[in-house]
Amino acid sequence: MTLGTVIAICGAAICATLAGIGSAYGVRIGGQAAAGVVSENPGLFGKLLVLQALPGTQGIYGFLTAVIIIVRMGLLGGNPIALTTAQGWALFGAAMPIGIVGLFSAIYQGQTAAASIHMTAKQPDSSAKGITMTAMVETYAILALLVSILLVFGIQL
C-alpha cells in the first residue's frame, strides 16, 4: 500500500466521520425539541418527524462521498490502484468540503429545525414554511457535496 492510498483512505474516513457527527448532533437537537412538543401534542408527530430528519442528510452526503472515493480507488474490488502521494492528497482535499461544511451545516440546520418545530407547535399549519426555512441551510451542504463529487471524479488516477 502506497502513502497516497493511505492519505486518500484518511480523507474518505474523515469526510464520512465529520459529516456523520454533524448530522447526529443536528438530528439530536431537532429530536429533543420534537419530543418536548409531542409530549404536549402527540398528533404532531408525523409533521415533526420530517423536520427532525432534515439535518440527517449531511451524514448521507459524507457517506456518499466516502463511498465514491473508495470505489474510485478500487478498494472494494480487491486490487486497489497504487496512488501517488500527490493523488492521495488530491483525493484527501476533495473530501474536505462536504466533511467540514457537512459538520457545521448539520448542526446549524438542527438548530433551525428546532426553531421550526417550536413554530409548528404553535401553528401546526405552518410546518411547510418551517421545512422550507430549514432546507435553506442545507443548500450549502449540497454545494459542498457537488464540489467534492466533481473533484473526486475530476482527479486523474
Binding site: T57, F63, L64, V67, I131, L145, L146, I149, F153
Partner: protein, 623 residues
C-alpha cells in the same frame, strides 16, 4: 385559474333561521362573513358545552379501545342518517360518564389505601395495639424512627440509661423503633436517644394491632381492585361501540358550527352576508328555496375594499399540486395570478429528476396506490399523496432516461449521472433556466394582459435575453450571437431599471438593476441540487447492492443479502422522497415564485359538515 367570488346577502325570518343554516351547511357553499353589527348568537354556549362533553366522553372511551388495525376504514353514512338523532348514543354517553366518575373514585380510593398501607408497614412487627401506647403508672412509651447508620449508637445510649429499645421494620424515614422507659427517667432517656439520632414520630392512628389494620386495608384494596377491573371491562365494552359516540360528536360539532353563526338581527328578521363561488350561486339559491320562500337572496360582485377568499379551479392533474402552492401562500384575486398550471408540470418533472430510478418509481407507484386504496386519505393530505403518486411516473421515466434500476446502471438512454456528473450538472442548470423563464413568461403574459407591455419588456424580457445570451457564449457556434444578445439585454436593463426613480436615481437605478445578475445566477446555480440529489439516491442504492453482494457467499449469506436489499432500498426510497419533496418545494418557493408570484390569499371555508371520524356521503358526491 382563480374562481371569481360573489358576495351573497340573505334576509329571512328568524323562525326559519335554524332550517336555513342547516340547508346552507348541507350544501357547503356559503362562507359567512361576520360583521361588527352582528348580534351575539344565542344558544352558542350550550352547543359548545354539549360538544365538549361528547369530546370528553370520546377521550375517556378511547383509552380502553383496542389498537385500531391499519386496515380499518372510516365508516360511511348518508346525510339522512347523519342528521338523525340516536337515543342509544345519548344513553352510551350517560353510561360512559357514570363509569368515568366511578372509575376516578375507585382509583383515588385505591391510592389512598396504598398510602395508608405504606405508612403502617414499619409498625407491623409491633405486638402492642397502636392505640394502647399511652403511659402506664411506671412506664412510658415513645415511638420514632432511626436512620440506618444511627441504630447502634441509639441502642447503646438507651441501654446505658437502663431503658429498652425494640427495633421494628424499616420505613421511608428509617427503622421504626419503640422506646420503653421508666416514667421518672423519661426525660433523660429521651435526651440521650435524640442526641444519638432517634427522631420521635407517631404511628398512624388506628385501633388495635398494626397487623390487623393492615390486613383490613389489604382486603379493601383487593375489593377496590376488583371493582376497578369490572369498571374497566365495562368501559372496554363501551369502546367497542365507540362509533355511535363518534357520530354523536360529529352531530354536535355540526350543531355547534351552526350555532356559532352570528347575524345582524331585527325583532323578527336576520341578515347573513357571505362569500359564494360565482359558479355555485344556483346551488345556494336552490338550497334556500327548498326551506322557505319568505326570504330575499341577492348576489353582488365584490367591491374594491373587499378581500374575497381564494378558490382555484384547475384540471384533475394540476389541482393536486395546488396543495404545494397553498403551503407557501394562496393566490389572491388582487394579484390575479394562479401559478399552479405552470408550477405543476415542473414540480412533477423535477421530482422525477431528483429521485431518478425506474425501480424506485415502480415501488412508489404500487405502494402509494395500495395506501390510497386502504387508508382513503382526505383533503389536503390526499392531494399531497396524489402529488407523490403522479411523481412516481416521472421517477420511472427519468430512471429509464438515466439507466438507473434499483441503484444498478443499465443502458442509460441519455447518460448516467454517476459516470457523467458534468453533463448532468449542465442538464440541471438548463432545466433550472427553463423553469425560471417559464415563471418570467407567466409574469410577462400577466403584465401584458394588464396593459403594462413595456414593463414586461424591460423587467422580464430583457433579463431573458441577457441570460440566454450568456448561456450561448459557452457554445463556440453561437458565441457571437450570444455576445450581442447579452450586450443588448444588459443595455436595456442599464437604461430602464431606474425609470421609476427621479434625476440622478435613474442612473444609479440602472446599475443597481444590473447588479441583480448575481441574484439570477445564484437562483440558476441552485438547481445544481438536482444533480446532488439524483447522485445521492443513485450512490446509496449502489452501496446497498454492493453490501448485499459482499455477503452472498452461502445460503445464510444469501438470506442476509435479501434483508440488506429490502431494508437498504426502503431506507433509500424514504430518504429520497423526503429530500425530493423538500428541495423540489424549495425550488418552487424561492427560485420560481420569486419571479412571478406573491400570494397572500386565504382559504374559502364555507359553513359545511366536515367530519373527523366518519365520511358523510352527500347527494352531490353520490351523483
Amino acid at each position: 385559474m382563480i374562481v371569481p367570488m360573489k358576495k351573497a346577502e340573505l334576509f329571512a325570518l328568524k323562525q326559519d333561521r335554524d332550517a336555513l343554516l342547516l340547508a346552507l351547511q348541507r350544501v357547503g357553499e356559503f362562507m359567512i362573513i361576520p360583521t361588527e353589527e352582528d348580534a351575539q348568537p344565542t344558544g352558542q354556549e350550550d352547543a359548545q358545552q354539549a360538544l365538549q362533553q361528547a369530546e370528553n366522553t370520546l377521550g375517556f372511551v378511547s383509552q380502553f379501545q383496542e389498537k385500531r388495525s391499519f386496515f380499518a376504514q372510516r365508516p360511511e353514512l348518508d346525510l339522512q342518517s347523519f342528521l338523525k338523532e340516536d337515543p342509544e348514543a345519548l344513553e352510551l354517553e350517560q353510561e360512559a360518564k357514570k363509569i368515568a366518575e366511578q372509575l376516578a373514585a375507585v382509583r383515588s380510593e385505591r391510592s389512598t389505601l396504598a398510602a395508608q398501607m405504606e405508612q403502617l408497614t414499619p409498625w407491623l412487627p409491633l405486638d402492642i395495639p397502636l392505640d394502647r401506647l399511652t403511659p402506664t403508672r411506671y412506664a412510658s412509651f415513645h415511638t420514632g424512627s432511626i436512620s440506618a447508620g444511627a441504630v447502634d449508637p441509639v441502642k447503646q445510649a438507651v441501654e446505658e440509661q437502663g431503658a429498652d429499645l425494640t427495633l421494628l421494620a424499616p420505613g421511608p424515614e428509617g427503622l421504626a423503633a419503640l422506646l420503653t422507659c421508666l416514667r421518672e427517667e423519661e426525660h433523660a432517656v429521651l435526651e440521650a436517644a435524640k442526641a444519638a439520632g432517634f427522631v420521635e414520630n407517631t404511628p398512624p392512628r388506628v385501633k388495635g394491632l398494626a397487623k390487623d389494620a393492615y390486613e383490613a386495608y389489604q382486603q379493601q384494596y383487593r375489593e377496590a381492585q376488583k371493582l376497578e377491573e369490572q369498571l374497566v371491562a365495562q368501559a372496554e365494552e363501551l369502546a367497542g361501540r365507540k362509533e355511535k359516540l363518534e357520530l354523536l360528536y360529529e352531530q354536535r360539532k355540526a350543531q355547534a358550527d351552526r350555532q356559532a353563526v352570528s347575524a345582524w338581527e331585527t325583532a323578527a328578521t336576520f341578515r347573513l352576508v357571505g362569500w359564494v363561488r360565482s359558479d355555485r350561486t344556483e346551488a345556494v339559491k336552490k338550497a334556500v328555496a327548498e326551506v322557505t320562500d319568505a326570504c330575499a337572496l341577492s348576489f353582488t360582485d365584490p367591491t374594491e375594499e373587499d378581500t374575497p377568499p381564494t378558490v382555484t379551479k384547475n384540471n384533475w392533474f394540476v389541482s393536486q399540486f395546488e396543495t404545494i402552492t397553498d403551503m407557501f401562500s394562496r393566490p389572491t384575486t388582487r394579484e390575479g395570478i394562479d401559478p399552479n398550471p405552470v408550477m405543476a408540470p415542473w414540480y412533477w418533472l423535477i421530482f422525477g429528476l431528483m429521485m431518478g430510478d425506474a425501480g424506485y418509481g415502480l415501488v412508489m407507484a404500487i405502494a402509494i396506490f395500495a395506501f390510497k386504496k386502504i387508508k382513503k386519505p382526505k383533503g389536503e393530505f390526499a392531494k399531497l399523496i396524489n402529488v407523490l403518486w403522479y411523481s412516481s411516473i416521472t421517477t420511472m421515466f427519468c430512471g429509464v432516461l438515466f439507466g438507473s434500476y434499483f441503484g444498478e446502471t443499465w443502458h442509460p438512454l441519455l447518460f448516467s449521472p454517476l459516470d457523467a456528473p458534468v453533463p448532468m450538472l449542465i442538464f440541471s442548470i438548463i432545466i433550472g433556466t427553463l423553469h425560471i423563464f417559464s415563471g418570467m413568461i407567466l409574469k410577462v403574459v400577466h403584465d401584458i394582459k394588464a396593459g403594462h407591455f413595456w414593463d414586461a419588456m424591460f423587467d422580464q424580457v430583457s433579463w431573458m435575453v441577457l441570460i440566454t445570451g450568456l448561456g450561448l457564449l459557452f457554445l463556440p457556434a453561437t458565441a457571437a450571437v450570444g455576445k450581442w444578445m447579452a450586450i443588448i439585454g444588459a443595455l436595456v436593463i442599464l437604461c430602464t431599471a431606474g425609470r421609476g426613480n427621479k434625476g440622478f436615481g435613474k442612473v444609479t437605478g440602472g446599475f443597481l438593476g444590473l447588479y441583480n445578475i448575481t441574484g439570477y445566477m445564484s437562483d440558476i446555480l441552485s438547481y445544481s441540487r438536482i444533480l446532488a440529489l439524483s447522485l445521492a439516491t443513485g450512490v446509496i442504492g449502489m452501496v446497498m447492492n454492493l453490501l448485499a453482494g459482499m455477503v452472498q457467499g452461502s445460503v445464510i449469506g444469501f438470506v442476509f443479502s435479501l434483508l440488506i436489499y429490502l431494508v437498504g432500498h426502503v431506507f433509500n426510497i424514504a430518504m429520497g422522497l423526503l429530500s425530493a419533496y423538500v428541495h423540489d418545494s424549495r425550488l418552487q418557493y424561492i427560485e420560481f415564485f420569486s419571479k412571478c408570484y406573491e400570494g397572500g390569499g386565504y382559504a374559502f371555508q364555507p359553513l359545511s359538515i366536515d367530519p373527523k371520524y366518519i365520511d358523510v356521503v352527500t347527494h352531490r358526491q353520490s351523483k
